[in-house]
Symmetry: none
Subunit: 189 residues, 4 copies
Amino acid sequence: MARPPRKKKDIERAALELFAEYGIDGTTIRMIAERAGVTEGALYRHHKSKDDLARALFEEYFEGFGRLLEAFRAETTPLETRIARMVHAFLSAYDADPLGFRFVLLVQHRLLDGVRSDVLSPVSVLTRFIEEAVGRRDIPRQDAALKAQLLLGMVMQVAVGERYGRLELPVTGYSAEVSKAAVAILREV
Amino acid sequence: MARPPRKKKDIERAALELFAEYGIDGTTIRMIAERAGVTEGALYRHHKSKDDLARALFEEYFEGFGRLLEAFRAETTPLETRIARMVHAFLSAYDADPLGFRFVLLVQHRLLDGVRSDVLSPVSVLTRFIEEAVGRRDIPRQDAALKAQLLLGMVMQVAVGERYGRLELPVTGYSAEVSKAAVAILREV
Amino acid sequence: MARPPRKKKDIERAALELFAEYGIDGTTIRMIAERAGVTEGALYRHHKSKDDLARALFEEYFEGFGRLLEAFRAETTPLETRIARMVHAFLSAYDADPLGFRFVLLVQHRLLDGVRSDVLSPVSVLTRFIEEAVGRRDIPRQDAALKAQLLLGMVMQVAVGERYGRLELPVTGYSAEVSKAAVAILREV
Amino acid sequence: MARPPRKKKDIERAALELFAEYGIDGTTIRMIAERAGVTEGALYRHHKSKDDLARALFEEYFEGFGRLLEAFRAETTPLETRIARMVHAFLSAYDADPLGFRFVLLVQHRLLDGVRSDVLSPVSVLTRFIEEAVGRRDIPRQDAALKAQLLLGMVMQVAVGERYGRLELPVTGYSAEVSKAAVAILREV
DNA sequence: AATGAATGAGATTTCATTCAT
DNA sequence: AATGAATGAAATCTCATTCAT
């Protein structure tokens, strides 16, 4: 009952940043320990393994994104408003913690397969969102699964664009335009 | 005068497939050699290191994508036609060689930084394409850099969607809808 | 708090002996680990690489030789006495630890270039010793740099002679004659 | 009966220079082939193995040194003259081909053990030379084996001194002084 | 005679993880 | 809880040598 959280947070933050920059395999336990100001053994007090640590971080972020979108999907505001809020929330997440976002971007293809199936994924939320809008006749009949991918791809690529110097921080500056594009995609069939 | 390099192609194909499935770090030299039917040392006659091999493959594909788009950008057909062709070409590339495409998708964030600057990147081509369309008054004034990212993100995410079982092969089946979405994004500002 | 490094000395001694017998390249990490009773990885906790280990050992011995001679150079005893002591000290060093001496002999041409310039080398000490003796009019004016090499070459070759079975252990048995030769070289110009 | 000598000499010279600079293990077949302007396989037309090549070169030089000294030992000129000629011949050999000399210096401890016993070694010649001088009452009774080592050590160290920038080229410039030192060592007992 | 692709065996090094302290 | 030495198991890479051409 004492205070374990102390170093645990340091370790996790250090790991996140290093994973975001060098990938999971490119990051060693020693690198994490060094940046967190602990020694290698200490890490195993809090996580079973390096992979376990990476997975925990990924799920945390991934689930966070899902919940973020879910909150707006369930809202009863107009379609345009909900889309704008979703886009803005996503881009705000990037501005608030670019490394966390990049971490997800970088390791997704390695860890996505292992995510627990009860976790709400962004794609699932978007798909449901589109299906409901169709059902409500807000937008024409269309392939919700496809459109969900298109929307997600668009928004994520804004982060990628910033990462590679093609777009500028803060990316929330692009919120309005991206929202408009999203709406156009859903309305125009 | 000596024996011709029969195994080079085998090695590169084996590497590509394994990289696409397990990532660069998740693929060992032994795995590549085994699949290519050579010994581990053979790889080093043709490439300086595993990383060098990965980089060579990446540039080859990456440049290929750039050239693909460039061909259509330069065309004098109507905007809609060119967009449709670009989208279709991209998605066809995936259907023709899903592993090659996935390889690029999977390793891009690790290798993108090191690409030679004279290589024509898809984003550059798209940006120029949009700027020219604006100049020609085909579409309203808009942020070409942003829109290029949005278009690219959309199309690439279709591949990701297929990879994770959300969309179906052949992805060229989505060409029409994706093209329409792309046009909508550019026209609607 | 963790366990103290019990094996470091074992590793270094094992390496020294093997280097002395088989050279650096002729000695494998496995050989060192085996003789030291550790696993191969253990070596890397204490030294960055095999070369680093060899270099550390070399500097230790090389500097030791320099200090050995320096002690006698600074003495205020008669020239003959100091020479005799230097020679004796050198040859004693060989009798006390032939492997250490042979190690230096064997690897010098590979590692000499990289020695830190602030390390007192035997040649420097001898050169200064001769220059001071000239300044004091103990011996005639002469080329100190050359004579330093001659003296060093003589003494080292005694060790070589023993190594190849031309001379006998203990080599301190040759101290008197070698000293006389050294004096003759300095006095007779 | 055609002309095999062509590339053989190139290969041997290339090997000698590389061995002198990097040692035998530090020199790869590929390095030799590259410098000689042939490919790796070509080397095996002329020598059974890299080691065989190194050994052949070493014996050639080593025997050459022995014969050089032997010629002067057998002369009927005064002792001083013969010593002066021996020393000069040795140092001239260095000036004429420093790399060949350094090669011997660098690899001697690795290859000396395997030299055919019928090869006339410098030490043997010098020992006999001193014994004969004692027998002829030219110099006092003394330990010929020891003195042979001292003489050899002195002269070789001149080369070492040049190699490490302590002495200057041409080293034949030191002939007179080294000869005087040699004589002093033999006369003074 | 020569080429250089390919082999085969091994060497160095890395690193997640364990465990005595 | 923490330390960091040591392990153990690979992974990358090197390179002398062989051999089909």
